[in-house]
């Protein structure tokens, strides 16, 4: 009741002006630019997460160093911290009064940075358990047969953790698309430059432009659904892989 009804109302409102109205609302220059920016930024963030998330997961499972438990605990921090605080902190460090002399405030770089902060745990937390369960015997066998480290990783480790990486990346991508709290303060929300889709929906909604806002909102909704279905598919694929 709580989840489905509002969604139904949203879809209903978006088609109030018919399909043509919906289409022209989505392809309005400002809406289009916001959607493009959102997708591009989310894609970059997903890619960064795929690489560094895997590195961190590997480090946490295979490496031993003092303070590892602490690092492991800190990974979850972006889940616990209100996103608006995350935005404020990134702005404090990489903003106008930056102590390190780097200012990226009100640029697209800032959006990527703060989204990397917010989405950090996803890939780490999906890859970590898989890597933990992975038997090292296969890797040792490959090594003793003369395989280089790169070959071992690419042919033995990567295939097993790939479903984990992908579902983590998909969650990070979904989160990056929908994120608002961390972005509002940091990006300046300049139309055609740093205004992302969720902020666009927010602003149009506040201005009372229901058709514009709901059209873009439905696009975001469709994206979320697609990503969820994709993750479901991945999960089935992964369990089939296990059974085989």
């Amino acid at each position: 009741m709580i989840v489905a009804l509002p969604i139904a109302a949203l879809v209903w409102a978006s088609r109030a002006d018919g399909l043509g109205g919906f289409w022209s609302a989505v392809t309005a220059p400002e809406a289009l630019s916001a959607l493009e920016l959102t997708l591009a930024v989310a894609a970059i963030v997903a890619l960064v997460n795929a690489v560094f998330g895997t590195v961190i997961a590997w480090m946490l499972v295979r490496d031993e160093f003092p303070g590892k438990q602490l690092v492991n605990a800190v990974i979850d921090l972006p889940f616990a911290l209100p996103t608006i605080v995350a935005g404020l902190l990134v702005l404090a460090l990489y903003g106008p009064h930056s102590p390190v002399g780097i200012s990226v405030a009100y640029t697209r770089t800032a959006i990527v940075l703060v989204l990397c902060f917010v989405t950090l745990p996803f890939v780490v937390r999906t890859v970590q358990p898989v890597l933990h369960e992975l038997d090292t015997q296969m890797e040792e066998a490959a090594r003793s047969l003369g395989a280089g480290e790169l070959a071992v990783f690419r042919r033995i480790v990567l295939p097993s953790i790939l479903p984990g990486i992908l579902s983590g990346v998909a969650m990070a991508f979904a989160r990056a698309i929908g994120e608002i709290g961390s972005i509002v303060i940091l990006s300046g929300n300049i139309p055609f430059h740093t205004e992302v889709a969720s902020v666009y929906v927010f602003n149009q909604g506040q201005n009372g432009d229901t058709v514009q806002a709901s059209a873009v909102a439905v696009c975001l909704l469709a994206l979320s659904f697609t990503i969820l279905l994709g993750i479901g598919g991945l999960r089935r694929l992964a369990t089939r892989h296990e059974r085989a």
Binding site: V74, L93, S224
Partner: protein, 267 residues
């Protein structure tokens, strides 16, 4: 490159990334408070509107968390133990708030309870204010935090299987007894963990509540909205003061999560 230097380089890359992305911004929380002056931050925290904002946040948590805990357990039981038509759909809807933008959530509620919405006119004619008041904010908070308890409980339920419950039934236990005596004790860590995550999510919610609350100072403003309010009024000390308080709560949540984690086994 030998094994040792490879391991060190992976460690360097991983920790370096964490330092730049995560720890450096976090340290700013304390540094900025110190730079702005702790006194100013303290007076911002103890200001009437700020205290009220935290009260509103607490009320939202107090309503949303128990409801979602109950709902999450029921939902998880239904998903794991029962077969019914449309189960896949229910599953998808429970997970949806994880992937959906909170703005979309807020805007949908705005449409549903707005002046021209499906329910808006009915509530207005009965003199109940939903939008820009507590009810809509509660709905928004519940919506965004629906999945967390269910998601923690589902895997645990799958793992423990239903043999013990079956045994209880054959010994004449009612389904209520079986739940209280068998099922609940075995999933309790998952439930507690889910509750902690749900609470964190409710405390930090911004996007959905921002739309439906109208963020009126001293009335419908939550703690996270208060941070933005201070920031936009160029009151840096106030913004960082409230942020620090929220950050400390987050760290407390993190500590609880870390302590609880070993109890749920290898997730």
């Amino acid at each position: 490159m030998n094994a040792r230097s490879r391991r060190y380089s992976v460690r360097l890359v991983g920790l370096g990334y964490l330092a730049v992305i995560l720890l450096a911004p976090l340290s700013m929380l304390f540094w900025r408070i110190w730079a702005e002056g702790a006194g100013k931050a303290w007076s911002a925290i103890t200001e009437h509107d700020t205290i009220h904002a935290f009260e509103v946040t607490l009320i939202l948590c107090a309503i949303a968390v128990p409801l979602n805990t109950l709902f999450g357990i029921v939902c998880a039981l239904a998903i794991v133990r029962r077969r019914f038509p449309g189960k896949g759909l229910v599953n998808a809807f429970v997970d949806l708030p994880l992937a959906l933008s909170p703005v979309v959530v807020g805007f949908s509620l705005f449409l549903l309870y707005g002046r021209t919405g499906w329910f808006g006119p009915w509530f207005t004619s009965h003199g109940i204010q939903v939008l820009f008041a507590l009810p809509a904010m509660v709905l928004a908070t519940i919506f965004v935090s629906v999945p967390y308890v269910a998601r923690e409980v589902v895997p645990t339920l799958r793992e423990i299987g239903d043999e013990q419950e079956q045994a209880a039934y054959t010994l004449g236990a009612s389904s209520w007894q079986a739940f209280w005596r068998i099922t609940l004790p075995s999933i309790r860590w998952a439930v507690i963990y889910g509750v902690v995550v749900t609470t964190a999510r409710c405390l930090g919610e911004y996007g959905a509540v921002a739309i439906v609350s109208g963020s009126i100072s001293g009335s419908t403003e939550t703690a996270t909205l208060r941070v933005q309010d201070y920031y936009e009024n160029l009151d840096q000390a106030g913004a960082y003061g409230v942020a620090l308080l929220l950050g400390l709560i987050a760290i407390a949540v993190l500590v609880v999560m870390t302590v609880l984690k070993p109890n749920e086994g290898v997730a």
